[in-house]
């Protein structure tokens, strides 16, 4: 049968530099490279390459590079090569196209059209290297009234909260979608940094119960791995309603990934699929959501904040308004660029809205309704840098979740083939030989390095604005200006255009 597809990438080997050490061959789980005895040299099959850059990084003589395949279909502004290729795949297989990581399509990135303010002359900026600068954040409901007991003393019992040393947490990524070592690195880094990581819907491996003070446990529609001890073990409990990469649909972890400890942690037999249905079948309304929130609170004696995570969709502000009245302490909103271990391509690339616009409208809506302090807002999908963090906070977020950025810190090159299960970086795989490539100590150190640097940068930007507490930055839209945005976009974001006073 004719293969209508052409390789998207081309492996280019500089034979003057190649010493036939065969490192590339051993490193590539996609079996791109092999040594051809007859020719006495390394040969590459570009068709199998996913451009993960593993061989490029490990080649001792830097003899390799991966470039886009210059072979071109006849140019067509409408029928781009991608559409033809996808049709060929579907015509051959009859399958739903499956992709990984966040939406790569050229939609506007609003963070890149927003600029941050700084002080000049009239109010002094602050040097964070010399002066105290507060990036600590508490997440949870904030009481709006002062209560006194019978003797007139102020009741100081507060609702349960999360304490973060900086306004960043690691997003939900399940054990199963990512490896044991990747989870270990996230847990260790969260503990060292004084922040939190999130189990995702896959239960919690028994080895990681010791990080409970820095763990957010997730309850999703499949309820995999959920039981009393698991709920007890989390510092907070997150009800997952939706995910930015695939709003409105569930998840199917294929049986091939349900092996060994993944099977044990999820409590389903090896080799069986793990199907998370699209809805929670006990939640069809805000009232039903309230019931799940309170059943969790009852089971954990009101000691832990409950997070409700939703995908950013068209009516996100109204939904968030409902959640803020459901008894939830924190709302997490995941934008349409959020990552995933696997999602149908069409859903990932066409469903949901940008997080910047969702955040702008949710924060404004909750303020208008005087319920903003009922909840904290955490946003995700996608936060790529400390500047994105600062902009998100100015737009009203209390903190952000980072998923893709944390994977990149561990070595991910965003080749977007997590769904193959053959991650050469040892992150999105359960193959023992690949998992062991990721050293959890080194990966944890890299995560700590990245976020320590981000925290310095956040402090620098805050200092530049003359602000010494991140609380004073939250929802501070005067610190933002848009460039190249139209009036509707500016109104939704709630910011002025650059040049406006």
């Amino acid at each position: 049968m004719i293969d209508y597809n052409v390789a998207p990438f081309e492996v280019v080997r500089d034979y003057d530099k190649c010493v036939n050490c065969r490192v590339c061959e051993r490193q590539c789980s996609n079996e791109v490279h092999h040594y051809e005895e007859g020719f006495g040299k390394m040969i590459s099959d570009s068709a199998k390459c996913v451009d993960c850059q593993r061989c490029v990084c490990l080649c001792p003589t830097k003899a390799l590079k991966i470039v886009p395949n210059q072979n071109a279909f006849r140019p067509n502004a409408n029928w781009q090569q991608k559409y033809l290729t996808e049709i060929y795949k579907q015509a051959e297989s009859g399958g739903v196209l499956l992709s990984s990581m966040g939406n790569p399509e050229p939609f506007p990135v609003y963070f890149d059209k927003i600029l941050i303010n700084a002080s000049q002359v009239t109010n002094p900026s602050i040097d964070p290297l010399r002066e105290p600068m507060e990036t600590r954040v508490f997440l949870g409901a904030k009481p709006q009234t002062i209560e006194r007991d019978a003797s007139g003393k102020i009741v100081t019992k507060l609702p349960p909260r999360l304490k973060l040393s900086m306004p960043v947490m690691f997003s939900a990524m399940s054990y199963g979608s990512i490896s044991y070592n990747a989870h270990a690195a996230l847990a260790r880094a969260a503990e060292k940094l004084g922040i939190y990581y999130n189990t995702g819907e896959g239960g919690l491996h028994k080895d990681f119960y010791k990080y409970s003070a820095n763990t957010i446990v997730q309850v999703a529609s499949g309820r995999f791995g959920v039981h009393k001890d698991y709920l007890e073990d989390g510092a907070a409990i997150e009800i997952k309603i939706g995910q930015g990469a695939k709003p409105g649909i569930g998840g199917h972890l294929p049986g091939a990934k349900i092996v060994g400890d993944v099977s044990k942690t999820r409590m389903i037999p090896e080799g069986s699929d793990a199907v998370s249905p699209a809805p929670h079948h006990d939640i069809y309304s805000i009232e039903d959501l309230r019931q799940l929130v309170y059943s969790i609170k009852e089971a954990t004696e009101y000691k832990k904040p409950v997070i409700v995570k939703i995908a950013a969709v068209h009516n996100v502000a109204a939904i968030a308004s409902g959640i803020a009245r459901s008894g939830a302490d924190i709302i997490a909103i995941d934008g349409f660029r959020g990552g995933t271990g696997a999602a149908p391509t069409r859903i990932r690339d066409n469903v949901g809205i940008p997080i910047e616009l969702a955040l702008g409208s949710v924060d404004q809506r909750l303020r208008e309704e005087n319920i903003r302090d009922n909840v904290s807002l955490v946003v995700a999908g996608s936060i790529r840098s400390s500047a994105d963090v600062v902009k998100a906070i100015c737009l009203g977020a209390d903190a952000v979740y980072i998923g893709s950025a944390s994977l990149v810190a561990m070595g991910c090159h965003l080749c977007r083939t997590c769904n193959y299960g053959k991650c050469n970086w040892g992150i999105a795989t359960q193959r023992p030989d690949l998992v062991k490539r990721l050293n959890p100590d080194i990966a944890a150190e890299r995560l700590i390095n990245m976020l320590t640097a981000w925290n310095h940068e956040i402090q620098e930007m805050m200092g530049g604005m003359g602000i010494n507490s991140i609380e004073a930055l939250r929802g501070n839209r005067l610190m933002l200006r848009g460039v190249g945005l139209n009036e509707r976009e500016l109104a939704v974001l709630g910011i002025k255009h650059a040049g406006e006073v």
Binding site: G95, K228, I268, D273, P277, S295
Partner: protein
């Protein structure tokens, strides 16, 4: 401990149950939700009608209800036992992963949705009467038995086992006219096969004080999914 829950907030009821070591009798219960959530030990006896999410995340305790249950009884239950001397509402035992639930009479929609099993941890739901639509939807493991004690013509309803990819649904019925989803294999059980489920029937009889040998006579059907990898061929890597 005796407790009249009528004038108390539910968390006070749960605090009192825990303070009494898990063993309590609640009388005049009328719709209080979340009773015995996550309870690990003891026996909670309830007179009246408990509200939704009774025994959610139950982790070892036993709950006996002299009356009907509402929605989400035993939601995400892990261990223990729930006995209902009456009928229950929707989503009985949602995502249950261990323990047993016995309902003397009927259950409404979506009982046993997404229950799962692992090793010797096999959740069991025994329904004395009939079940509503979507029984065992997304079921990934465990056992659901519909005894049909009053010999109804259709003891199960439409969409039973839809999306099911593990576990067993056992239905006692003269004939099974219900339209079942394509992926469900349904067959009459041989006499020898029934013995695997007899202990659960005996437990049902002893819980409800029945000594009814007729409960396990007649035709019994076994419903199982045709694959535990239902979506293997659905996708193509892009």
């Amino acid at each position: 401990m005796k407790y009249n829950g009528k004038t108390y907030k539910v968390n006070e009821i749960n605090d009192a149950i825990k303070a009494a070591g898990g063993t309590a009798t609640l009388t005049e219960v009328l719709g209080e939700r979340f009773i015995a959530c996550g309870l690990k030990e003891g026996v909670v006896t309830i007179e009246g009608t408990p509200g939704n999410a009774l025994g959610a995340y139950l982790d070892g305790a036993k709950i006996i209800v002299h009356g009907n249950g509402q929605d989400a009884v035993g939601d995400t239950m892990n261990e223990g036992k729930i006995v209902i001397h009456g009928s229950v509402g929707d989503t009985l035992g949602y995502a249950m992963r261990g323990g047993k639930i016995f309902v003397r009479d009927n259950v409404c929609y979506r009982a046993g949705v997404h229950i799962k099993e692992y090793g010797d941890k096999v959740p069991v739901i025994v329904i004395g009467g009939t079940a509503g639509c979507f029984l065992g939807e997304y079921m990934a493991g465990g056992v659901v038995i519909v005894l049909n004690k009053d010999n109804a013509k259709d003891p199960i309803a439409d969409y039973t086992g839809v999306g099911m990819y593990g576990g067993k649904i056992v239905v006692r019925a003269e004939s099974l006219d219900t339209v079942l989803p394509e992926q469900i294999k349904c067959r009459r059980m041989e006499n020898g096969e029934l013995s695997a489920f007899t202990p659960y029937i005996k437990e049902y009889c002893s819980e409800f004080g029945r000594a009814d040998p007729k409960l396990w006579t007649g035709t019994v059907y076994l419903l199982q999914p045709d694959s535990n990898n239902p979506y293997k061929r659905l996708y193509t890597n892009n």
